[in-house]
């Protein structure tokens, strides 16, 4: 167990562990604030899926690469390095939120960090990712686009139309289906003619890869290798990351369509525990260090809620702003 991990830079491992723990603690704090009605509307938590965004985004270079995702976006926003404060302030709908309180939980953006959202219509951001990749190719840049979406989005026409075009036009985009196995309350096997979702790539003459989305190192390796290939060959790739969300689809979903045993079995395969155990076995972290890291993340999450609480409500006149450039 310890041998495999030695090929990774220890700073990288620590960063990925910390990001996963931060996402976990941030989401727990968001759930708490939601319960207190500080956050309203839809709020989709990323708990359980942390390894997918963290491993994938750690493997790219955001000075030239781009990330875009759907509405379960808090984890990706933290993984690209957005400040927890401005994310939480956005969840609270405050003026110091990253989207000035106009986007909320589903619409986090950071243009400077090449994080292009935060999108609320299932599958509708899949063409946008190809457009971003088109710009990279048009300008003869070296970047790739990571586009995350769920198993619910894979049956949308936008996915099929866009993969066809991305393949024909050889666009540098990596489509990452985060298969958490339930599109809201629907088991993906009930609605998928091809339940091995990565095989849908075959129809579009592009590589399809299945990866363990609970293992951050597997995610990292997969995207590192794929991104290099995409940079070299300009061929888009579809990746299916098998993962699981511990919570309901959103805060209003008790998740009664899943058995307690099923949820418990996935928690035994927790992405944070997996990496921490591997690092501990290799002598890269001990219990005390993990606790320090965890305390630090808890504090960032708590501080973000405090920051959001203190941030101002947007002035009424701001509702007329940001419509046109």
């Amino acid at each position: 167990m310890a041998d495999g991990i030695k090929k990774y830079d220890s700073a990288l491992l620590c960063k990925m562990l910390e990001q996963m723990v931060l996402i976990r603690r941030f989401e727990e704090k968001a759930a708490q604030s939601y319960g207190l009605k500080k956050i309203g509307g839809f709020c989709h938590l990323y708990i359980g899926q942390e390894a997918v965004a963290v491993g994938a985004i750690a493997a790219i270079d955001l000075t030239k690469d781009y990330v875009i995702t759907a509405y379960r976006d808090h984890g990706h926003a933290l993984a690209v390095g957005m400040d927890a404060n401005v994310i939480m302030a956005e969840l609270y709908g405050r003026i110091e939120g990253c989207s000035r309180g106009k986007g909320g939980s589903m619409h986090l953006f950071d243009a400077d960090k090449h994080f292009y959202g935060g999108h609320g219509i299932v599958g509708a951001h899949i063409p946008l990712a190809a457009g971003m990749a088109m710009k990279i190719k048009y300008r003869e840049e070296d970047g790739v686009v990571l586009c995350f979406f769920g198993d619910g989005a894979i049956h949308q026409g936008s996915f099929h139309e866009t993969l066809n075009m991305a393949s024909v036009w050889k666009l540098p985009v990596i489509y990452i289906c985060e298969n958490n196995q339930y599109g809201m309350g629907t088991d993906f096997r009930r609605v998928s003619s091809q339940p091995q979702l990565y095989k849908m790539a075959d129809s579009y003459n592009m590589p399809g890869i299945e990866v363990d989305g609970m293992d951050v190192l597997a995610m990292y390796d997969c995207i590192k290798e794929t991104a290099e290939q995409v940079r070299d060959d300009n061929v888009p790739v579809l990746i299916e990351a098998k993962t699981y969300r511990y919570q309901g689809h959103s805060m209003s979903d008790p998740g009664t369509y899943r058995t307690k045993d099923e949820v418990a079995s996935y928690k035994e395969n927790d992405p944070i525990v997996i990496l921490n155990n591997k690092m501990a076995a290799a002598g890269l972290i001990d219990d005390k260090q993990y606790k320090e890291l965890d305390d630090k993340c808890k504090k960032i999450a708590a501080d973000s809620a405090e920051f959001a609480e203190k941030s101002q409500q947007p002035d009424i006149k701001t509702m007329y702003e940001d419509i046109f450039a």
């Binding site: 309180g101 292009y116 457009g131």
Partner: protein, 326 residues
């Protein structure tokens, strides 16, 4: 001044802007090798190559969305829909992505993109291919909407639309592509948001846009025979609306007919009629009349489809009402 077709005016606008700015590109069905379904893009593939003049598969949702993503990342795509009837396949991309991305991100993104193609009925095409779509898009905050009725306006407004940093819906018409008009050789731009008085008059204001402008102008000429002096306002831009031009004209004439080739219910025309009634109430000498298409899907039969649309006769009848001639 050279006389060219509306089609050629559009082509010149695209050509000049592509020459001026290498971030401008044209995408759509049949725009490249086929030279455009209506030949608007004739010659552009040869001039600019397939990197900038791009044929797409028949997948309006995704090529529209790809254009929007490219615009977010800094290109300036022109998306050609073969007709606005097909734009409904891409409706979600326009309404949920193009119109809202800047707003939802708190102003982090610009969306410099133009969506253009023929709008409204041509002939013998039945219901799915004969729709006037102005109301669908004008309803949406975050979009600018243009409807150009002459070659001169088409060129000047399309150039402005391409240079604009916001999503612009640009509506043309099959029946306008062959229309000729004077277009100067030197470069010019027409600002978005400015109506144009196509005919000065003092007795009655007709407010219209798009190809029925020409129906309105014919009606104005006929009314002139009866000694009625009609002012015709061509809105040119439907969003943002040139409210000042409307108010000024109606306050002068005291009578108003709105001509819109869309369906009457919840249309641009019905909004303008409300707007005039609301803002010019004290100056109106008669109720505002709306001449629209009939409230039906378009039939195929030519006699029926002509009867379903605004006509000189319908505008004359409306004029008789607002002038109390009967």
């Amino acid at each position: 001044m050279p006389v060219i077709t509306y089609r050629e005016a559009l082509r010149q606008a695209i050509d000049e802007e592509m020459a001026r700015d290498d971030s401008v590109l044209l995408m759509g069905e049949e725009v490249a090798q086929y030279n455009g379904a209506y030949k608007v893009s004739r010659g552009l593939l040869d001039k600019y190559g397939d990197k900038r003049v791009i044929d797409t598969p028949i997948t309006e949702e995704s090529f529209t969305g790809i254009g929007i993503g490219a615009a977010m990342a800094g290109l300036r795509p022109i998306i050609e829909w073969m007709t606005f009837n097909f734009s409904f396949q891409a409706f979600d991309q326009i309404v949920n992505n193009a119109a809202k991305m800047r707003y939802m991100s708190g102003g982090q993104f610009k969306l410099p993109i133009v969506f253009r193609g023929p709008n409204g009925p041509a002939e013998w095409l039945s219901s799915q291919h004969s729709q006037a779509c102005a109301a669908f898009y004008s309803h949406v905050p975050g979009l600018k909407v243009i409807s150009a009725a002459t070659a001169y306006d088409a060129k000047g407004l399309l150039k402005s639309a391409i240079r604009d940093d916001n999503p612009v819906i640009f509506m043309e018409a099959e029946f306008l592509y062959g229309l000729e008009g004077e277009v100067p050789e030197e470069e010019y731009l027409i600002p978005i948001g400015q109506a144009d008085i196509k005919r000065q008059g003092k007795d009655l204001t007709i407010i219209t846009f798009g190809k029925v402008l020409h129906t309105a102008l014919k009606a104005a000429k006929e009314l002139e025979v009866d000694g009625i002096d009609v002012e015709v306002i061509d809105l040119r831009t439907l969003r943002p609306l040139d409210e000042g031009a409307i108010i000024k004209s109606v306050n002068k004439t005291g009578r108003c007919i709105v001509v819109d080739e869309s369906w009457p219910y919840a249309s641009v025309g019905s909004y303008i009629a409300w707007f005039v009634s609301n803002r010019c109430f004290d100056m109106l000498d008669a109720q505002v009349e709306l001449v629209s298409s009939e409230d039906i899907p378009m039939p195929y039969n030519h006699r029926l489809e002509v009867a379903a649309q605004p006509s000189v006769e319908k505008i004359m009848a409306a004029a008789e009402k607002v002038l109390y001639l009967n």
